[in-house]
Symmetry: C2
Subunit: 253 residues, 2 copies
DNA sequence: ACAAAAGTGTTTGATATACACCCATGT
DNA sequence: ACATGGGTGTATATCAAACACTTTTGT
């Protein structure tokens, strides 16, 4: 929620620099302690949560815009990003269109426009990300997927669509590689798969299958200090992984 | 290629009615006589081929825009449409941006803008579609996938992306249902799969597998008049098909 | 010593692959 | 009669599912 002067400044700046009618919203996934997490922002002066997003500079490739936005929110370069859907209902941004309508005439009010938003999902290494709020928000933080706050606008739909996409692309994109830390144990990787797929998997069959793909390397040292038998540590063999993904991780036709 | 007056009229109309910076391009697939076909337009006064496309009305859902555009080009309602990608390189429409730059100042020239284009693929029943050119084109016609003309702008990339998407979604979308006529023979359906997948399939295994899904109904009468043994006719059991697609047509995890 | 986590192996059924034979029809 | 397209069947390998035992480690 802006004050009037903030709004005027923002609109002037936006009109000059950004493409009208277009926004980008990002579903940033992380994985930590067996939980799939999503990055969300809490607005200033509003009890309102949003996905991180932004606009496209007038001469900027949309991928760069998404990368730029996420660099600001996470501090990370080289984020794995996938565009997954455009949300184009003319009423989808209605609450924003009305929010400032008494403060500025529509012709000067950036938010009075209809916005299409391009949805990207991002996969980041949880421990390296530094959640950082933007100028509209007071908080940028991870939330567990099963403990998400209500999201404004159609951001819940965007999240759900991202999740469905993630599930479908699990065998075609290096999702494990981008969400797991460098080294991880087999049960940790299994937990990720179970969370994304929303169902339990058999421990032994999972291990046999994923090792069968030849995309993992096992370290010499097992992890120490756990309360039980020390598990082996694995890392992705990126070259084999990329190669395997070309055909998809299981057969078909 | 417009005359100056045509250009002025078009731009005035476009500025008033359409969202700036946004276009829609459609890859319309049909299937006939064992060939996958794509609908293309040939421009007036240019040796140039394009995919059918258009713009989004200021208060129109983008799905409706795609539907409207395709109704104009094919005469069909209720077309199966899937949004598959946004192409957002700021230079992608450069040839159009420069084309009329000596005719109209950029401020009045609709085409001087950068355009993001939203890619949709459509699956239509070849025999019912009535290819109809638009105001910029002299010809709207089907072309075999392996006999495509060179396409302008990034439309070849759009086509390729659509094909890749089609291949990936073959087991998750009712692609056969929307591309085949009501009744068809098993070899015809197999040809469609082979064309989309780009490889030969074993006749007997294909039949067993696809029948195993329980998504086809066999008619009583075989097709007559062929030069050889009369093949059975099949049609899709839409209810079972939809049900089967929810999980995907083959297992995984 | 025991509970909990993790590593490894076996049996069974299902599915994919490869391949061979028979039938119908027009020339 | 035969060439061609089309229907059907069977053996084999491969993979997925279900399930049990053993090892390690902290308490």
């Amino acid at each position: 929620m802006f004050t009037k002067q903030e709004l005027i400044d923002f609109c002037n700046n936006a009109r000059e620099n950004y493409l009208a009618h277009i926004s980008i919203d990002c579903v940033v996934f992380g994985f930590h302690e067996g939980q799939l997490k999503v990055l969300v922002l809490k607005m200033k002066n509003e009890e309102a949560w949003y996905l991180p997003g932004g606009f496209v500079l007038k001469n900027e490739p949309i991928e760069n815009a998404a990368t730029r936005i996420l660099k600001e929110r996470t501090g990370l370069d080289e984020i794995f990003l996938q565009q997954f859907h455009v949300f184009g209902d003319p009423e989808r941004s209605r609450p924003h269109r009305d929010m400032y309508k008494d403060m500025l005439p529509a012709s000067e009010n950036w938010f009075a426009n209809r916005f299409l938003t391009i949805g990207y999902y991002a996969l980041v290494d949880f421990v390296n990300a530094m959640p950082t709020p933007d100028q509209h928000s007071i908080l940028c933080t991870w939330r567990d997927l099963d403990d998400m706050p209500a999201l404004e606008l159609d951001h819940s739909v965007i999240l759900k669509t991202a999740l469905d996409t993630l599930r479908l692309q699990l065998n075609y994109q290096p999702i494990g590689y981008n969400l797991m830390p460098k080294e991880f144990t087999m049960p940790e990787l299994q937990k990720l798969y179970e969370t994304i797929l929303g169902k339990k998997l058999d421990r032994r069959n999972f291990q046999r299958r994923i090792l069968g793909f030849g995309i993992l390397k096992r370290s010499e040292q097992p992890r120490k200090g756990g309360a039980h038998k020390a598990p082996y540590l694995y890392s992705f063999d990126l070259e084999n992984y990329q190669e395997a993904l070309k055909e998809g991780l299981k057969s078909g036709w």
